[in-house]
């Protein structure tokens, strides 16, 4: 019994400490976004890495998601004789939910893991210590450009995902199953309102923040990880943890944002 209480206490202290450390890290990074010097070159480099390099995977994922929605929508709506609703079903699903969530999950897999591994390796090879010893703040120099790039890229990638999804849905519903082209787009025009787009954009902004926050913090605090693993094993462990934690945090916050905004 005593062991159980001790263990529970230890775990609680660890998680509270960890959450506090992560929160302070996030606040420090966010504050430094607004302080000089503005690292334009580094921001552009990160925009290229997080944003431009994710375009292909977003196009592919968005197209297939839209096609699946078109396919499923066709079979379900056909039963109720509501095929003219297929355009709005595809668009609303994408814009409000699937677009932001799936685009974010794609970015977690492609860029989030790479960011975490990069920062983790910098920690193990003393590059972060070297920055500090040069009088360069690692938050400002390493993290801030990634934060800015992620919160700019994610909404744009989400918009691209939505557009590709709508085109994928068009291909499945209109080209493959012969749904009327006019009714596909008319349903979309009449049902999608600005609030839906706004919700998708808010979500993608928050998801961008979550991805870069978890990835950078996990890498940065690699040396404080409870497993005690450093070096290659430590980097692989925290990268896995960062991907899992980001994905769960995206799904959890998706529910929260939906609940607040609905």
């Amino acid at each position: 019994m005593r062991n159980f209480v001790e263990k529970t206490g230890r775990e609680t202290i660890y998680y509270v400490e960890h959450a506090g450390m992560m929160t302070i890290f996030l606040c420090s990074c966010l504050i430094r976004i607004f302080t000089r010097p503005f690292q334009l070159r580094a921001i552009i480099k990160q925009l290229h890495f997080i944003g431009a390099k994710s375009v292909f995977i977003i196009i592919v994922a968005g197209s297939f998601t839209g096609m699946v929605l078109g396919l499923q929508g066709y079979y379900v709506l056909q039963r109720f004789g509501s095929l003219d609703m297929i355009g709005s079903a595809v668009a609303l699903s994408l814009i409000r939910e699937l677009g932001p969530v799936l685009a974010a999950l794609m970015v977690v897999g492609r860029a989030g893991s790479a960011i975490c591994a990069e920062i983790g390796i910098m920690r193990t090879t003393e590059q972060i210590d070297a920055l500090e010893c040069m009088g360069i703040h690692p938050y400002k120099y390493l993290m801030v450009p990634k934060f800015i790039a992620a919160i700019i890229s994610l909404p744009l990638l989400t918009c691209l995902f939505d557009v590709m999804g709508i085109l994928g849905g068009y291909f499945a519903a209109v080209v493959l199953f012969g749904v009327n082209e006019g009714s596909y787009f008319q349903g979309m025009y009449s049902s999608v309102v600005w609030a839906d787009i706004e919700m998708g954009l808010i979500k993608s902004f928050v998801f961008g923040l979550i991805i870069v926050w978890v990835a950078t913090a996990k890498g940065f605090f690699l040396h404080l990880d409870r497993s005690g693993a450093f070096g290659a094993e430590g980097v692989s462990r925290i990268t896995t943890k960062a991907v899992v934690l980001s994905s769960v945090a995206i799904l959890g916050s998706d529910y929260l944002i939906s609940a607040i905004l609905l």
Binding site: T125, E126, Q127, D129, A130, E132, C133, M134, G135, I136
Partner: protein, 269 residues
């Protein structure tokens, strides 16, 4: 060097630090004087790298004080610490060069971050420092294209690009062949003489330490056992010092009872 007349630039007083419940540094006292080369020596796990990290302000101590260039760093705020670090150059054991930048960009980084120099001036300064380190013409190479010795010299070039007052070098000879190691030793002496730097070197290489040091500090199990000139260290009668100089393995008393317990598994029950 006339060490007695020199001003103290690094003053470590009663420094104690723990990792968990393990005591790593146990009441360390150390003074480093201006323009001297102080070599910190000790076996693996003796706490020399930990001491260096504390002096650099990278770790926080359990108790004690560290004064660098008149600033108490254990209580200094982050802004003050970062300002102080502009007077310090550090070359890490593995070089710690940024893999995504060329050697030139690596060396140029402190100038780019802390000065308003134009591109051309920065390039000239980088070329000059690289030439001092015998690395002329490698600006465009990536760190992965350099040999171990070249990485260390590039790291040294980056450490001295701002002409710091203090230079710290962690394990300069580690993993290098004797010739490259000797070249680095020459470079360290050259930097002290030409740029009037105070240099702290952490190493366990005896030959290198005797060649470059004005004074040597020897750490053993987190405690400083001696700080003295090279000559006095050589003549010291202390067992640990003689063990280290003569590369004798440490003699540990064998607790026969505990050993038998371990063998029979009694201690595991």
């Amino acid at each position: 060097m006339e060490e007695h007349n020199q001003k103290t630039v690094i003053k470590v007083k009663e420094l104690v630090t723990h990792y968990g419940s393990r005591k790593i540094l146990d009441g360390v006292n150390l003074d480093v004087k201006k323009n001297e080369i102080m070599v910190i020596m000790g076996g693996s796990g003796s706490g020399k790298s930990t001491l260096l990290r504390h002096v650099l302000g990278l770790n926080s101590a359990t108790s004690g004080s560290i004064e660098i260039l008149g600033t108490e760093i254990t209580t200094a705020n982050q802004k003050k610490l970062y300002q102080l670090r502009r007077n310090m150059g550090v070359a890490f054991q593995g070089g710690a060069l940024f893999g995504s930048m060329t050697v030139g960009e690596n060396v140029e980084l402190p100038l780019r971050e802390h000065t308003n120099l134009d591109e051309k001036t920065m390039r000239i300064m980088v070329r000059m420092k690289l030439e001092v380190m015998n690395l002329a013409g490698v600006e465009a190479l990536m760190p992965s294209e350099l040999s171990g010795g070249m990485v260390k010299r590039a790291a040294l070039a980056r450490a001295v690009i701002m002409d710091p007052t203090l230079l710290f070098f962690d394990e300069p000879s580690a993993g290098l062949d004797p010739v490259v190691s000797a070249e680095l030793d020459e470079l360290i002496i050259l930097l002290r003489n030409a740029m009037n730097m105070t240099i702290v070197v952490v190493t366990h290489e005896l030959e290198s330490a005797f060649k470059i040091a004005d004074r040597i500090t020897i750490l053993d199990e987190g405690k400083i056992i001696i700080t003295d000139t090279v000559e006095n260290i050589r003549n010291s009668n202390l067992t640990q010092v003689q063990d280290m100089l003569n590369r004798r393995p440490r003699q540990k008393e064998l607790d026969t009872e505990a050993y038998l317990d371990r063998l029979t598994g009694d201690r595991l029950q």
